[in-house]
C-alpha cells in the first residue's frame, strides 16, 4: 500500500497524520506531516543526518515521544527534516535517522514553530485491512 501524510483540522492548532503499511512507515509519514506544519518538505535538503532513539510503554505514547524528539532536535539544532528512516522493535524501542538542514528563513519561509506534540486526538491503530495510521494534534 501507499504511504502518505496529511494534516487534519484542530481549532487553534493542527493535526498530523501518517499512514503506511507498517507502524514505522506511519511514524515516518507523520514526521513529514510535522515538517509540513513548518514548511514545504520539498524545500528541505536532506544534507545532515541526526540519530534519534526513544522508547515508551505503548504505541501511542511512543508516537508522541517520536514527534517530540523531532521537535527537540528541530529546536536545538535549528534544523528542518525531510527524510526519515524508522525502525521499531517488539519492545517499542525506536531507532531512527532524520536527514535535513539548518533553517534558512528566506528559502524555507518557516510559518510557525512546533511547541510540542500533544495527546489530543492521539490515535495509533492498524486497520483491519492492514495499514497503520498514527496521528495527533501538535501545539504551535
Amino acid at each position: 500500500m501507499e504511504s502518505r501524510w496529511e494534516h487534519f483540522e484542530h481549532g487553534a492548532d493542527i493535526g498530523v497524520r501518517g499512514t503506511g503499511p507498517t507502524l514505522a512507515a506511519a511514524f515516518q509519514q507523520a514526521a513529514l506531516a510535522l515538517t509540513a506544519v513548518v514548511t514545504d518538505p520539498a524545500l528541505v535538503r536532506p544534507e545532515t543526518s541526526v540519530p534519534i532513539a526513544c522508547e515508551a510503554p505503548t504505541d501511542d505514547i511512543l508516537f508522541v515521544d517520536w514527534l517530540n524528539a523531532l521537535v527537540y532536535e528541530m529546536a536545538t539544532r535549528r534544523m528542518l527534516f525531510a527524510r526519515f528512516t524508522v525502525a521499531i522493535d517488539a519492545n517499542r524501542h525506536l531507532q531512527a535517522t532524520a536527514w535535513g538542514e539548518r533553517v534558512d528563513p528566506r528559502r524555507h519561509e518557516p510559518a510557525v514553530e512546533v511547541k510540542g506534540a500533544t495527546q489530543t486526538a492521539l490515535r495509533v491503530v492498524q486497520d483491519a485491512a492492514g495499514p497503520w495510521t498514527a496521528e495527533c494534534v501538535v501545539d504551535v
Binding site: 514548511t39 510503554p57 505514547i61 527537540y72 536545538t76 528563513p105 510559518a111 510557525v112
Partner: protein
Amino acid sequence: MDLSLLSRRSDHEWVIEPHGRMRVPGILYASEALVADMDHKVYEQVANVAMLPGIEGASYAMPDAHWGYGFPIGGVAAFDPDRGGVISAGGVGFDISCGVRTLYTGLKLRDIETRKVDVANALARAVPAGVGSEGQISLDDVEMDAMLSGGARWAVERGYGTVADLERIEEHGCMAGAEPAEVSPQAKRRQRDEMGTLGSGNHYLEVQRVAAVFDRAIGEAFQLREGDLVVTIHCGSRGLGHQIGTEFLRRMAIEAASHGIELPDRELACAPIRSELGRAYLGAMRAGINCALANRQIITALVRDVFAKLFPGSALPLLYDVSHNTCKLERHVVDGEEKRLFVHRKGATRAFGPGHPELPAVWKDVGQPVLIGGTMGTASYVLAGTGGKGERAFGSACHGAGRSMSRSEALRRFKGRQIADDLADRGIIIRSPSSRGIAEEAPAAYKDVTRVVDAADAAGLSRKVARLEPVVCIKG
C-alpha cells in the same frame, strides 16, 4: 455549542449543571452569540475539568474559550490541596506564562508617522523572531539557573531594564518557589540560545496607538490618552516552557492511575499538588514563569534601545506585564471560607480589582491593567480588573480573540504578501521573516476581539478601558 444544554443565569453567565462525575458546575461567561459559536468540545472540556479532584467553586470558561488540550483555552479552575486538589500541566499549557506587556513611549502617532518604516525595520533587526532565530545571549548552566530563579529581576540585574519595571510585573517580576533543579537538561538546552526571542505563531511585537479611551478615570490612572503610542509585546517562555510542558504531560498521563486519578480525558493529565510529581511540576512550572518574565524583560530592553536611537530621550516605562498561562497559589473566598487555592488560568488573564492585597501600590486603588491581545489588523484592548465581592472566576478575564479558522484554511484563503500590502494601505506596517506565517495569522482567521472584550466587560470579569490599534507589527 447547543444552548439547550445550559442554564442561563444572566445575559452573560451560562451554567453547565453538575451531572455524571462533575463535582462542581461549569460556568461560561459570554454573550449568547459567543456561546453559540463555541465548539461543543468547549462544553465537554469545561465539564471534564469539573470532574477533577479538589476543584473548588466551578470550572470556568472565559468569553474567548475554545478547544484546548484537556482544559479549554480560556479556562479557569482552582484546586484545594487540603481536599486532594491537583495540578495539571495541560491546565497551564505548553507556553508557560505566555503573556503580554505594554510600554509607554511618550510619543504620539504624528511623531512617527513619517518614520514608521524605519521603526519597523529597526525593531525587526533588533528583536529575533521566527523559526530558528537565536537570541544575542547564550546562557551557561549557572546563569540558566539564576535566570530560572530570578525571572525579570535577574534580567534587570544583568542590565536589561530598570528596577522600576519590577513593580509593574505580576509577582514583582520574580515568581517565588521556582526550582531550577526540576527543569530537565533538555529543557535548559532548548532555552540556551533563545533568551530575548519573540517566537512565532500568534506572538508579536507591536507599536500601537491608543484609538479610544472608554473609561476616562481609569484611563487617566493608567496614563492612556487617545493618540498616545505604546509598544506591546506578546510572547512566553519559549523552548524551555514547551519542553517542561511536554515532559510533565507525559509523566502525569502515565502516573495518574497510580495516584488513583481517573482521567475523563488523558490530556487532563494531572497529579495531586501534594505528591512528588505535583511538587516537581510546580517547581519547574514556576521556573518556566520566570523564564517568560526574563524573556519579555530582555525584549523590552531591545525595544528601548531601538527607540533611544530613533527618538533620543525616549524612555519607554512599563505600564504592566500579565501572564495568561499559569497556575498560581492565591487566597480566595469560597462559600464564605477563605482558602489557599492553586488557580489554573489557561488562556485567561488574572484580573484583580481595586484593593486586592497582591496588587502593587500603583494599582491598589484602580485595579490591575488587564492586557488583551488582538490581531495585526484589528485591535488590542486594555481592561481593568474588577473584584471585591463581585469577583468572578477567581479574579480572571479573557486573554485574546481566539482563532475562528484553522491554519490550513487560512493558508488556502490568504496570501501573506497581499495581507501585508492591504495592511500597509491602512497604515499598518508588517515585518515578518515568513510570508506563509503572515497568511496563517491573517486577521480574518481570528474571532472579533471586540465582541470578546465587550462580553468580558458585560459579564463583570473586567472593565473596558482603552482600545489599541496596530501601527507597526513584528511577527515571528
